[in-house]
């Protein structure tokens, strides 16, 4: 990361809006030197992540000394405003409630599966809050809380996991990609959305989300490289929750950190405490601002922890110790924020009660929405394969309709004969 938040990148990619590749060569040669010129720091300060993950509020809820927050050149971060922090805390509490409610609904058989982001709520909330209305987000299957925090209806978000269709919201309307179950494929979609926006001269920023395991996939490499070569405003946000189902990070990568991977693409990388929403808002906020101002793509790695199993179908005790989980309980993103805001005098019992009530409302909405038996229409199978059904799909649709009609008729007949 490159500059203090007050700086503005000069010459925000002037002329590139209409000609993304005419200056490709120049862009890749100059990415580093341009930053040096703009921000007056060394190439290393620009490209390399800070020596330690940026942390502003520690696990005990105390504000770190300014010198410990991130003081290296190119890695100086300011504190987000009080209103922003309170809004973020509210979303944190809602996010935790959503995670726990959904896990309960899976146990009750109301949803097929739910990959919980319990413990990662700070990343989820910051991902949504760092974006403006015209920006896009490309989430993974574990990012339901981020999708909801972006404003998508909770029940629509859960449609994928309820099992009546593969997605429940309109990606274009919300500027949120469909939650992606194949790993990292969505990063390239993010690159494409950013590229199209840039060609039209729009100032859209795209947040492309993935996990630590996903950084081993080929599409991770291709997406970062494409974004860098075309100098696109994409912020790659890696939630390093330490496990890819059962496989720990050490088996995925021996890079100094995942944020260091940015250097190989000629982009800046930063790492941040993923359980400190104050630091996340500062780091992601600045990354989005830089991307919007024309600095090209950036990579942010958040260090966090998947507190629960991969999904309800997984047994985490087979591959990790309870003691390790306990260590991360002490770093919980909610409790530290509650302590911090209470100490600051921003959060009192009334405020906490109001926020808890809001969370309960969302939980009730989920219980009600997912408790409902939504009728499925078998003819939907054929409706959305193409813009208009092919003759073959029409035949198959008629065949299924006929089967169902005969089933219904024979059910009526056997009912009558039973009488």
């Amino acid at each position: 990361m490159t500059i203090s938040a007050d700086h503005t990148a000069q010459q925000p990619a002037a002329g590139r809006a209409t000609s993304p590749t005419a200056d490709n060569t120049a862009a890749s040669e100059n990415a580093a030197s341009e930053a040096v010129r703009k921000f007056g720091i060394t190439v290393e300060d620009y490209m390399l992540p800070a020596r330690h993950p940026i942390q502003i509020v520690g696990p005990d809820g105390a504000l770190n000394a300014h010198t410990e927050q991130g003081a290296q050149p190119g890695h100086e971060y300011g504190l987000p405003g009080d209103a922003e922090l309170m809004a973020a805390y509210e979303q944190l509490v809602v996010g935790r409630r959503v995670n726990d409610q959904n896990s309960a609904l899976v146990r009750q058989g109301r949803m097929a599966v739910y990959p919980s982001s319990h413990g990662q709520e700070a990343c989820q909330v910051a991902a949504a809050l760092c974006l403006s209305d015209g920006d896009w987000m490309f989430p993974t299957y574990r990012d339901s809380v981020a999708v909801m925090a972006r404003g998508v209806d909770p029940v629509q978000t859960m449609t994928l996991f309820r099992g009546d269709w593969h997605g429940g919201y309109d990606p274009a309307k919300h500027k949120v990609g469909i939650q992606c179950t194949p790993l990292t494929t969505q990063l390239l979609h993010a690159v494409g959305v950013a590229h199209a926006a840039k060609l039209r001269g729009e100032d859209t920023v795209v947040l492309a989300m993935c996990g630590d395991g996903a950084t081993s996939e080929g599409d991770f490499h291709e997406a970062l490289n494409f974004a860098a070569v075309f100098h696109l405003p994409v912020v790659f946000f890696v939630q390093n929750n330490q496990y890819a189902i059962s496989v720990p990070l050490a088996h995925q990568s021996v890079a100094p950190s995942l944020a260091h991977k940015a250097v190989g693409y000629g982009m800046a990388g930063e790492r941040v405490d993923g359980n400190d929403i104050v630091a996340l808002l500062a780091v992601l906020g600045r990354a989005v601002k830089l991307a919007r101002d024309g600095s090209g793509p950036l990579l942010v790695e958040a260090h966090t922890y998947r507190m629960q199993a991969h999904t309800n179908a997984d047994d985490a005790t087979r591959y990790r110790q309870d003691s390790e989980v306990a260590e991360w309980v002490a770093k919980d993103p909610l409790s530290r924020m509650k302590t911090y805001l209470t100490e600051r005098g921003l959060l009192d019992d009334d405020g906490a009660a109001r926020i808890a009530e809001k969370a309960e409302t969302v939980a009730a909405q989920l219980r009600e929405g997912l408790g409902e038996d939504v009728p499925v229409d078998p003819q939907d199978l054929f409706k959305y394969v193409f813009s208009a059904p092919t003759p073959q799909l029409k035949e198959q649709s008629a065949m299924l309709a006929d089967e169902l009609a005969r089933d219904a008729a024979s059910a009526t007949t056997s009912e009558e004969s039973a009488r």
């Binding site: 993304p20 490499h221 291709e222």
Partner: protein, 370 residues
Amino acid sequence: MSPTVTTSSEANNNVSAATARAAAKAAVEAEKTGPQTITLAKALNTAMADAMHADDSVLVFGEDVGMLGGVFRITDGLTKTFGQSRCFDTPLAESGIVGMAVGMAMNGMRPVIEMQFDAFAYPAFEQIVSHVAKMHNRTKGTVKLPIVIRVPYAGGIGGVEHHCDSSEAYYAHTAGLKVFTPATVADGYRMLREAIDSDDPVMFMEPKKLYWSKDQVDLDALRAEHAANTERGTSSEGRAAVARPGTDATLIAYGPSVPTALAAAAAAAEEGRSLEVIDVRSIVPFDDETVCASVRKTGRAVVIAEAHGFASVASEIVARVQERCFHHLAAPIRRVTGFDVPYPAPKLEHYYLPGVDRILDAVDDLQWED
């Protein structure tokens, strides 16, 4: 209609005088009205240029498609005419090309992308199968992906390995992809325009051995036909063509095998046998009606394709036709396809490829004496 290729005003300093002269000559050629002799390559190039003139959201990108004009020169002149923002080279990564096209299509563009060779499209398989084909379905139709993935495919050009695969079955097997393959110069123009117009993703399989095949076509007439179709909301999409009428048996072929089938029909005619040749054109959607009408008329059929026969498009066609035409058949339907072996080295490919003799042998086997 506007001229279709490069204009000299856009020629930049990097272009040699010879190239500029060639471009100017090409522009003059393209402005000629009435029937003219052009290649399939030129028809495809003109279709892209016309589509780009008609709609700013049509973009062309891939490997070497920019200044070089593609390794087969199908995108020749597009960068010069439309600029780097409309036709450009990407880093060398096929999954990246397709994945980026998905995002661009989600955000209002109509990407026409080139996979350099059939077998080099395989790194993009996940993006094609899991996203290009399914996005419309997953989002209940709210996200449409008007992407054309151009794939130079099949052999017969003496290419080294991985440059001659017939990969159409992989795509035809994937629900949500349309699969077109032109066999004539006119269809090169007509079908690529229709593919670019389609709101659904299209795998556009270009028989590379036919790139330099020539035919007399009237580009202005094709443009007028396209305009009239657009006006009426009609198209030739999903329709097979009778490439040669006949009465005794039907040869069903597509893409690179259509000229071979026509040659076989011409040879059979000399022996007094009248073969009808059907050019499938659109593998998905498939035109059961035209194919079956022909087979019901002739009572005999041979399906011809370069791809391996096992679990192939040719197998699907046989199954479909016998399900629908069983009582009209005088003999079992035969397939003449590539052998079930990896595509052979150049000096062996003529043993592998379906040829006139092998097709005529299959026709001879259609129980004529019974």
